[in-house]
């Protein structure tokens, strides 16, 4: 048996080489796709801007724009060029970090310095809510096991969550918590003065509590949790009945390791499908909890018709979707070697 060994150096290096080439090809194609998606999506936004009714500069500046400002804006958006060249110039400026200047919402402030920090808040809410829903869904799915009849009582409420928009969940959550706190502190019966969740806890929880509640309501609402839960359970069922799990059982080895590893990929698929929806939900939930994120910024800017800010924030969102998809793909490929094999 000595001639067959694992540590034959030549063989090992050959296999390594092949794998590296395959991986780098795969990664390259994914990056290329992400880049082209970014270009395409930003072009859609630019084209939307160009197709605005009337003169866009008038729309943005309103009545109080000076001729210099108008000329500036024209140059920035490349309005004097045709749509392709204009997009090129606009995209180049955006790429070099110049997203324009806020006009009405916070006049004079560069959009990048407004949207950048705000977007961090949004991103952390989105990530926390995704992780939160995954943790709960995993826990419940493993606890309850594969779907069985006569679980309708338990599952009814969970399925109803599927239909609850995150902003409704957020309002209810805020109201209920408000009521609870009021009840404890003031002895009940008192009507809360505003919808803001925890006025009395302001000292400690001014920023943390709304953040947590926002994340919670996103992870519960919009069917994110339900979708994950259902996907996990269905996957658990098909895994439990799958041949290879039977085979693992029949050889007397532990099944759990195989189960957990095989559950990761479907979870990630739900993530990928849900990502745009989660980011949408963040916008409105941030608004409810007046969190200083980019969703709040977006809505405030939109209220003031501050086009550069709105466009800047949208670009951030698109960028985030593409990057997060890339990361999810990468994790998927790390877990499942088939992804790389079929990728190219």
């Amino acid at each position: 048996m000595s001639q067959i060994g694992l540590d034959h150096p030549q063989q090992k290096s050959a296999m390594l080489n092949e794998a590296t080439i395959r991986w780098s090809l795969w990664l390259g194609s994914k990056l290329l796709r992400g880049l082209s998606l970014l270009c395409g999506a930003s072009f859609i936004i630019y084209a939307t801007l160009r197709s605005a009714p009337g003169d866009m500069v008038d729309l943005i500046l309103g009545l109080n724009g000076t001729p210099e400002m108008k000329a500036d804006l024209r140059a920035e958006f490349g309005l004097d060029l045709n749509i392709i060249e204009g997009y090129g110039r606009w995209a180049w400026r955006a790429l070099s970090g110049d997203l324009g200047i806020s006009i009405t919402f916070m006049p004079g402030e560069p959009v990048l310095s407004l949207a950048g920090p705000a977007f961090l808040v949004t991103l952390s809410i989105a990530v926390v809510s995704l992780l939160c829903s995954i943790a709960v869904a995993y826990g419940l799915a493993i606890l309850l096991g594969p779907p069985r009849p006569r679980q309708a009582f338990l599952l009814g409420p969970i399925q109803l969550l599927n239909a609850a928009p995150s902003f409704v969940v957020a309002i209810c959550l805020a109201k209920v918590i408000n009521e609870l706190i009021q009840f404890q502190l003031a002895g009940g019966g008192q009507i809360p003065p505003s919808w803001y969740p925890i006025p009395t806890y302001q000292k400690i929880t001014d920023s943390i509590a709304p953040f947590c509640f926002a994340a919670l309501s996103i992870s519960l609402g919009d069917g994110l949790f339900t979708d994950l839960f259902n996907a996990l359970r269905a996957e658990l069922m098909s895994l439990n009945e799958s041949l290879f799990i039977s085979a693992v059982r029949a050889k007397g080895a532990a099944v759990r390791k195989h189960l957990i590893k095989n559950l990761i990929v479907p979870t990630l698929s739900v993530f990928t499908a849900r990502l745009p929806l989660v980011l949408s939900a963040v916008v409105i939930v941030e608004y409810i909890f007046t969190l200083d994120g980019s969703g709040y910024l977006l809505l405030q800017a939109a209220k003031n018709r501050d086009v550069p800010v709105v466009v800047g924030v949208s670009l951030f969102f698109i960028f985030a979707v593409i990057v997060m998809n890339l990361i999810l793909d990468l994790v998927k490929a790390l877990v499942d070697p088939r992804e790389v094999a079929k990728g190219d």
Partner: protein, 295 residues
């Protein structure tokens, strides 16, 4: 007479009686959730159709002397802070999303279905470039893009619903494409080509109509419920959707900010959840029913 006709009843009966008998037996074996949800869907449908013919006056009737009344026989969902009947406003509020949702659903299902079937049928570069465009649309975060549109264009609920239906086309097309590709993988389409059918007939009749109608109906209902969601969300935000004093479920929920009592906003919130749940369950039920292949 009955004794004689039983043997041939399936043959000679009119189309509506067969239709009725199949649906009657189908209804009986449906689960409770499907029955409940279809009742709610039918209710929404009725109100949606009737609403345009009802006048706005009682809905807008402000009377501060009867504000914040608890639910009673007269106002059986109570009244809000301005003394308007919550029940009436709730029913009238259906108008805000009904027709936009219907239009958006039909549009998205039709275009998505056709595009998906074309992508799946042709494959090759047509399929690939189409799916590239669809993937592009899918990367746009829906809410953000809608807000952008509303900033640039004068917001109207029709525009919003059309845009949201366009944003849904990719996912519908992808579902249909997968289905068509799954059919193609078992040589099903090839078998029909070999039999001599026209490709257009195969796409439109054998694939889209016979195989994908349940899926499309379900997706249509899904888009409808999404428009309901978007409309209520935007009305809740207050700047883009239906404006006060006209009722919409979204701006009724928004009263949670100012209302002293729960029912003016909690009941519409409940209505949103229940309606969306019913719509989804109804869509699922229809899809499931079609999946159970005829016996």
């Amino acid at each position: 007479m009955t004794g004689q006709s039983t043997g041939q009843s399936t043959r000679q009966s009119t189309w509506y009686s067969t239709w009725y008998s199949t649906w009657h037996s189908a209804w009986k074996e449906q689960p409770l959730s499907f029955k409940l949800s279809s009742i709610i869907v039918v209710l929404v449908l009725c109100f949606g159709v009737i609403n345009p013919f009802i006048s706005y006056d009682p809905v807008l009737d402000v009377e501060l002397s009867r504000r914040d009344l608890a639910p009673s026989w007269e106002y059986w969902m109570g009244t809000d802070g301005q003394g308007r009947s919550v029940a009436l406003r709730l029913f009238k509020g259906i108008e805000a999303f009904f027709f936009p949702g219907l239009i958006a659903g039909l549009f998205a299902a039709f275009v998505g279905g056709v595009l998906g079937a074309l992508c799946g049928y042709f494959g090759g570069w047509i399929g690939r470039s189409l799916s590239a465009v669809l993937e592009l649309i899918d990367t746009l975060p829906r809410m953000v893009f809608l807000v952008l549109i509303c900033t640039i264009f004068p917001p109207s609920i029709l525009l919003i619903s059309i845009i949201s239906s366009v944003l849904f086309i990719p996912s519908i097309a992808t579902i249909i494409r997968r289905k068509v590709e799954a059919l193609g993988a078992e040589d099903y389409i090839l078998a029909h080509v070999a039999h001599g059918f026209h490709p257009l007939k195969i796409i439109s009749y054998h694939i889209l109509w016979l195989q994908c109608r349940a899926l499309l109906t379900r997706q249509m209902i899904f888009v409808f419920s999404y428009v309901l969601f978007i409309e209520t969300a935007l009305s809740y935000l207050g700047d883009y959707g239906v404006q006060e004093p006209y009722p919409s479920w979204g701006n009724m929920v928004a009263q949670s900010r100012i209302s002293a009592v729960a029912w003016p906003w909690a009941l519409p919130a409940l209505a949103i959840i229940i309606t969306i749940a019913a719509l989804l369950a109804f869509g699922d039920g229809i899809a499931r029913r079609e999946e159970e292949v005829k016996r």
